[in-house]
Amino acid sequence: MRSSVFFLIAVLVGAAVFFGARFVHNEYIFFAGFVILQFIVLATAWNILGGYTGYVNFGTAAFFALGAYSTVFIHKLYPLPIPVLILIGGVVSGIVGLGMGYLTLRLRGAFFSIATLALAVVLQTLIVNWTFVGGSRGAYIIRPATAPLIGNYIEYMFLIMLALAIVAITTARVIERSQLGYGFATIRDDEVAAEASGVPTLRLKLIATTISGALMGMAGAPFPYYIGYVEPTSTFGLAYAVNSIAMPMIGGTTSWIGPLIGAILLGTIQQVATVTISSAVNLLIVGLLLVAFVIIAPKGLIGLVQDFRRSRGG
């Protein structure tokens, strides 16, 4: 399928989701849906680096928070429309992603992952000590009462995150099918052999960290308007790092559809658990599922389906 056709279909599905949610006539759908969509973007973004090239980033929260705090910073100066804030958040975290790549991509495996964790700690410390954006006490963002075009603000935010999810998924799919995708796959498999075949591994990894970081920041940019109150501990929370790793792993990391399925599945389970039990069990659920999948189905749900098809096909 051509990418333009895919994008069109994604838009149609997105429209169906939006009008379906409206049909339910319950604001909670939009609040919960926003979070799930946000995880679709984060999981897809993480997978572009972690799944396609095999570099595990533990610092998702840092990129997400960069987007969120870019918005807080700009809101304090002069409130701008959310789509503009998303672009700004994307540029800021894309640049940080590129910088992180330069500093850390010569490290292999676990060392790279530890470096991304360190980045998150450093950024959080900076934010905690930066009073202009609220420091450790946090900052309040008064959400406007009505939104452009749609009226209802939460519906507007839901729609924006839906659009972002479509952009992220289409981007991932385009990469997967392009020459870049082949290059990423060779990096995941064997960097020495990749270089020997002419693949400029460092440049490709920098492209991956930049795109991945930018999308994570874009996911974080609308967050202050959604939550209304931003403070470092929850914005840099463990939940972002754990979920953005667990969702692709559970769905499957080799294709765009894996993070999508994983995010919908895990996101929904967590939303239900939050309502029925308590949000405190969320990370426990995610952790247990992740462990189960790593042991039983290391290639995720996609892998299970592929293996099933292969065994039936003989």
Partner: protein, 246 residues
Amino acid sequence: MMAQALLDIVGLSKRFGGFVALDGVDLNVKQGERLGLIGPNGSGKSTLVNCICGTLHNEGGSVKFDGKKIDGLIAHQRTRLGLARSFQLPRPFVGLSIADNLRVPLIYTVHAREGRRFTRAEMEDHCGEFLRLVGLADKAKKFPRDLSMVELRKLELARAMAAEPKLLIADEAMAGLSHSEVDDILALLARLSERGITIILIEHIMRAVMAFSQRVAVLVSGKKIADGLPQDVMRDPEVERAYLGQ
């Protein structure tokens, strides 16, 4: 003195910690030449390949390729200049199909070099051609895990050839192959040689080395101890001693 030297290695040294793997190796390969490189296990042959191709960085000496010093270049830049090698222990891209394995050098070396994209059909043609050359045409859609060790060696060779190199280095590509398969690969290398590609063959199978090489160089303990016509080198007492001393 040799104006048409394609590869010119001077005083190449490489150590791993305190261990000297290569000790001031000089080697000169002419455009279009077929060179056999032999030596006992652990003598530094693969290390030499790694230093030539930029997989490892040599501490001493320098490598000139096609009249240009390439010491500062990283591996993929050297590949794009026209250096290709097969790995002694096959290193396939396990997540890609056999055909896609060959697509990688086509995309990232041949495209990048020529500054143009192949059409889908051209790409299929090229992949198919190289797969046929090494007898893997029926495995195009399979994955490396479906191949035998011998087939993986052939894939390794095909991937190196797909980069359309000026100099091809085959590092023990024939180990484990049957008599007729060795002959097939030799015929293949001969055809490449006729097309003007310079080839360094690293091999333990002496029959293959003698049949293929116009010249033979011998490496022992990181030092080049002989370099000359195959018959002369094989009669060299120092070479005999190195091989008998194993």
